[in-house]
């Protein structure tokens, strides 16, 4: 255990990325994540890294593509409208099997929307925001400490599976300041023999997402799907909160929303309601294993800062075994502890 320091969520993303060996950042400012590029603009020159403010989100994601080809750890970040702009590049990264970390500190949409927090980019992150059959490892932090831990994990998983990963936070977490323990972390970055590192004394490497021949294109798709199946098997992560053999009601929430929902679950338990919570940490792969046994559960309530997105994945995995209800607010508004508690009470009827 190291000494705890207070850090803002957006700055923690930057600090964690540097500690994970990321020395290349390309981005374009947008609220509510601008503290992150501001932090890295100061920090990268001190550690011999590259910080570059591109002329747009689209050029930033293509710079990320280039750096990833060269085999370095690279990150970009933005907020919802900016992440929409990056989608073409993300599809190319998935097709070319390039390990990068893309951060989305979500704000409310659709369109230019507003700068207040939201979880409305869940579909975009986990269902494929760009074209083609691809998946993004998607990580959802719930505290500033977890931002540190999941940024490091995100780089490791991206490298391990040679695939882009999405770090899906929101404006509330980006602005939140909490104590963190940076620990004695040492990133172990493995060799990337496939990288375009200058072709001397070895065979030529090619990184591409174009496969003109449909037979080859299909083979590549099958290869990608096998990789995604492996990720789904190995990398599901979630947190159980008071989810024991006696729990009758289950709340499912992720990220900031899970923090608010936990407070509501504690209050419900004080009232004698056998409430519990599952917090998905990997949104893709969705933690299906968390729901393998519904134990004594009677009903599930999914709470989100959107109009109902993750609830579809919960319903898929529950598959009609018990009722799944939904409560959400949108547009930068979010369910309060009291409103969530009211919905938990409503499950009893």
């Amino acid at each position: 255990m190291g000494e705890k320091v207070l850090m803002k969520g957006n700055e923690a993303i930057g600090e964690a990325a540097v500690s994970a060996g990321c020395r290349h950042f390309f981005g374009y400012p947008i609220t509510p994540q601008s503290e992150l590029p501001a932090y890295l603009a100061k920090k990268m020159p001190l550690v011999g890294g590259v910080f570059l403010q591109a002329e747009s989100e689209i050029s930033a994601i293509n710079m990320v593509y280039g750096a990833a080809c060269a085999g370095v750890r690279v990150m970009t970040s933005s907020s919802s409208p900016g992440v929409s702009l990056k989608q073409e590049g993300i599809s190319y990264l998935a097709g070319a099997e390039l390990p990068v970390l893309v951060c989305n500190v979500q704000r409310a949409g659709p369109g230019l929307g507003t700068i207040q927090p939201s979880q409305a980019d869940y579909f975009q992150a986990v269902k494929g925001g760009g074209h083609g059959d691809y998946r993004l490892i998607t990580l959802s932090p719930s505290s500033v400490q977890e931002i540190i831990d999941l940024i490091r994990l995100g780089f490791d998983l991206a490298d391990k599976y040679k695939t882009p990963a999405m770090f899906l936070a929101d404006g509330m977490l980006g602005q939140l300041m909490e104590p963190v323990d940076l620990g004695e972390y040492k990133s172990e970055i493995k060799e990337k023999p496939w990288a375009l590192s200058g072709c001397e004394g070895r065979a030529k490497n090619t990184v591409t997402s174009i496969w003109i021949n449909p037979e080859e294109m299909e083979r590549h798709n099958i290869h990608l799907q096998e990789k995604y199946a492996e990720i789904k098997k190995n990398e599901q992560r979630w947190e159980n909160f008071h989810f024991d053999d006696e729990a009758e009601f289950l709340v499912v929430a992720h990220g900031s929303m899970a923090r608010i929902a936990k407070s509501a679950v504690i209050k419900a338990r004080e009232e004698g309601i056998k409430a519990s919570l599952i917090r998905p940490i990997t949104l893709w792969p969705f933690p299906e294993n968390a729901f393998s046994s519904l134990k004594s559960l009677k009903k599930i309530l999914v709470v989100e800062m959107n109009m109902g997105q993750m609830v579809e994945d919960v319903r898929l995995v529950v598959n009609g075994r018990i009722p799944v209800e939904f409560f959400g607010r949108a547009g930068g508004m979010f369910p309060t502890v009291e409103q969530t508690l009211g919905k938990i009470r409503g499950l009893i009827k």
Binding site: L6, M172, R259, I260, S263, T336
Partner: protein, 179 residues
Amino acid sequence: MHEELIIAGFGGQGVLLIGQMIAYAGLAENKHVLWMPAYGPETRGGFANCTVMVSDKELYSPVTTSPSSVIVMNLPSLDKFERSVEEGGLIVVNKSLVNREVFRGDIDKVVVPATEIATELGNVKAANMVALGAYIERRKTVKFETLINLLPKIFKGKEKLIPLNEKALIQGAEFVKNL
């Protein structure tokens, strides 16, 4: 101990800073802490407020709709947050910029002329420290000495401001002691 505090005022009154100081002090005393600003599209001016939580227990929701304490540095902030204070909670009011009484009869009230006291000390900008001193003296969320010990860290590179801010903190606390 579990404190959920909202501090509100105009942008530039230093409400975010004193909120961070309480969070730093809570951390120094090994408590669970968090600080969260309400953020808007303005770069300067407008209204500013932040939520600070200090607790012996793990903190979950970072937002509160019924704070145990509120510090208001101006009238619009009193209008906005007076009703939300939890029953039996505390409200600290900067009397210098609030020309009405606090209506609530079920909460503790500390009415301090923070802006006037700061002006007498030579810098109107220290009104936030006066309010902070008054709040801590009444609520004891963190130790007064912990706040004083933080000043060199908070004013790193602006050390000449430390004596003024220390005096403002002390004056705020003294005002409450003499109530």
